[in-house]
Symmetry: none
Subunit: 412 residues, 2 copies
């Protein structure tokens, strides 16, 4: 028996006047999702708890069975996972921007002219960095997309209780990082970070890429500015926690980062853009191939387009994307045998809000021996009549494991 | 966008034979509440958790987003807030009775003949109190209604782990207060309290008010007897916790005390009695005026009559009061624009129980973009068919904040 948790990112919505007071999911023509609802058990889910407005990261952390209130110390560690740095409990990770400072050390462009190319070569130079007083601390940089990068500090006596170096506006120097508590660890980390920021300028201001940018009148990526400190928590990998052999099929670095963080394997999909233009054929082929032919027994799948359309406030795009997923992907999922499928969302991204909201999301479970509940449409409203009633993200792994016959008994 | 949490105290009930097996809320004619149900999303709520029989205080604490298991150390601090004493974390607060003792120091009347007038002048005398060995401890008395008063102790090394001085029955001397644990703080506080009880008798036995009462053959209020010790917890005020500018419109000292405790402003209403005879016109005018014209963006409203009728076991009074609230108050609430209204109760006060019960209460949410669920009556039974399903008191603030667009995102 295999298991799939299939997340349509940002799927949930609120009624829209333009759709005759229906949500995009209600208004969309989704024969396959509805068939799944009819064959399965339905309900609504709060990925964290009622009223809490989740990020995609905290929602997925919760759905994978980890407590985001404990595990989510900051964005840094998940960004680090997302760009593929191997991180270890106790590491302190930061999001960074390549920025531009002038000779007076004033930030003139927080995003270094939105530099897109060749940051990996600048990063190579940064990775030569050693800070004299802190030679025992390992300093690891890695480029992300565009002007973004990640910094990981590894060694004894560090803390994530430090402020950001990012001044947030241009025309100011990088902020002096300060300790957020009285610990020696926080003071040490703050001092180290201030030295890293200075040192980064020394190391890369005359990097060939930057000299070239200056020549072309583009802002050089001549300094690195960290923010969003987070200590890497000590979590049990998903596979050992639940005795699974798990893999993640996702489109965005954020979700892949969460999956890597949980120790899952990442299966990449050609043409997966994370937008409404993503290659759904490739995604569903990858799912079907791996469920049928690989040794993985558990899959986290995330398709991001509905969230993107929600953030853009584009109800037509959201509705059409839902119909495409229904047609191309869900139609195939219905063919799977010996598989428990939980299809849900991580959060709502209502068109009217253009951001995540705390509205619960519909959830349905398909598979053999399911207690079918008579709900025959998959949407936010009909789901409330279903047999699952209202559950939480933190229930999902336990439920799917039980239905897969892989759940340990608690007691005798 | 403004928000109102509107509590009909003790509204929930159980089916009554006299009402053809309907609850008073079911049997009442409530076109406006039903219109709200039809326009909104409905459900049931356990203000603390299923099966826990809440007080109005603990229920409101939970609904305001504080954990009563942590915050509710005893009745004292909330009574102190209710009578308007400014309390601070670490203060130890007590409910007190004015009582009557005879020359042998035996309590002959625990309520001093239910004295109603002039207790403030006796309190003034009590506030001169100094206890020799504890001159660093500030001792603050304040009168409440009737024979009731409040005592607050402020200073270093105090504890709320002390027993009551109240002997509970007449014919006995005040109980010697003892420490409930081995701490020096509890022993010190117990010793101090015993001295305060004795000293109170010395200070007020010959107070003119008391000499006058003795002359008129009324029991003098010649001693003060504390009970219900509670340490004032360190809580974040509601306004900073949720970035709100909040106010409370309530009828009873208990609810006003909770609101003051949460740092809310109190808006007083002329003619609000807390009974079924309360001036509902003034209450609704106060609500409407403040929602429309004040800078407050969040209101806690409590109307107490249904609870009173429940305690009295008077189903007709409860039903009629519900109809009056529907007619006078809810009809107007329906006119409010750009306002999220959560209408619910703090607990059930079933006619057949004549006290609070743990039966969940109906809850409904109105406002723009709400996921309307097809429920078209507001009562304990229809509410269970609604889209909210079953939530908790501790979800209420998070949910209303999200719908008001004031919720921070947890994660990215």
């Amino acid at each position: 028996m295999k298991g799939i948790v299939f997340i349509m990112d940002g799927l949930g919505d609120r009624p829209l006047k333009e759709l005759n007071n229906q949500t995009p999911l209600q208004a969309a023509n989704t024969p396959n999702l509805d068939k799944m609802a009819k064959k399965g058990i339905n309900g609504i889910m709060d990925s964290i708890k009622p009223g809490i407005r989740p990020g995609s990261d905290t929602a997925h952390i919760s759905i994978l069975g980890y407590d985001p209130n404990i595990v989510y110390t900051g964005r840094g560690p998940f960004e680090a996972c997302g760009v593929g740095i191997d991180i270890f409990p106790g590491d302190i990770a930061f999001r960074c921007n390549f920025s531009t400072v002038n000779d007076e050390f004033i930030v003139t462009d927080r995003r270094a002219g939105r530099i897109r190319d060749n940051t990996s070569s600048i990063i190579s130079k940064l990775n030569e960095m050693k800070i004299e007083e802190y030679e025992d601390i390992e300093i690891v940089f890695k480029e992300s997309t565009g002007h973004r990068a990640v910094l990981v500090l590894r060694g004894e006596g560090l803390s994530d209780k430090v402020s950001d170096a990012d001044p947030k506006i241009e025309g100011k120097p990088p902020k002096i990082v300060v300790a957020k508590d009285d610990s020696a660890e926080a003071k040490k980390t703050a001092d180290l970070l201030n030295k890293i920021v200075k040192k980064s300028y020394e190391l890369i201001k005359n990097h060939p890429i930057n000299l070239n940018r200056v020549e072309k009148n583009e802002p050089p990526a001549n300094i690195i500015i960290p923010r969003g400190a987070g200590a890497v928590p000590d979590v049990e990998p998903l596979n050992s926690k639940y005795s699974l052999n798990s893999a993640c099929i996702a489109e965005t670095g954020l979700i892949m980062g969460i999956a890597r963080f949980a120790g899952m394997e990442i299966i990449e999909v050609d043409g997966a853009t994370g937008g409404v233009d993503t290659n759904l054929d490739n995604i569903v082929d990858t799912i079907m191939d791996n469920v049928k032919n690989s040794d993985y027994d558990f899959f986290l799948v995330n398709i991001d387009g509905a969230d993107e359309a929600g953030h853009d406030g584009n109800y037509k795009e959201k509705l059409e994307f839902i119909e495409k997923v229904d047609d191309i992907v869900v139609s195939k999922l219905l063919e799977l045998k010996d598989t428990i499928i939980i299809l849900t969302a991580d959060h709502s991204t209502p068109i009217s809000v253009m951001d995540h909201s705390a509205d619960p999301v519909p959830i349905m479970i398909n598979g053999s021996d399911i207690r079918v509940d008579g709900v025959n449409k998959f949407n936010e409203i009909d789901a409330t009549k279903g047999g699952l009633l209202r559950i939480r993200g933190s229930d999902v792994m336990d439920i799917i494991l039980d239905l897969m016959g892989k759940s340990p008994k608690f007691g005798a």
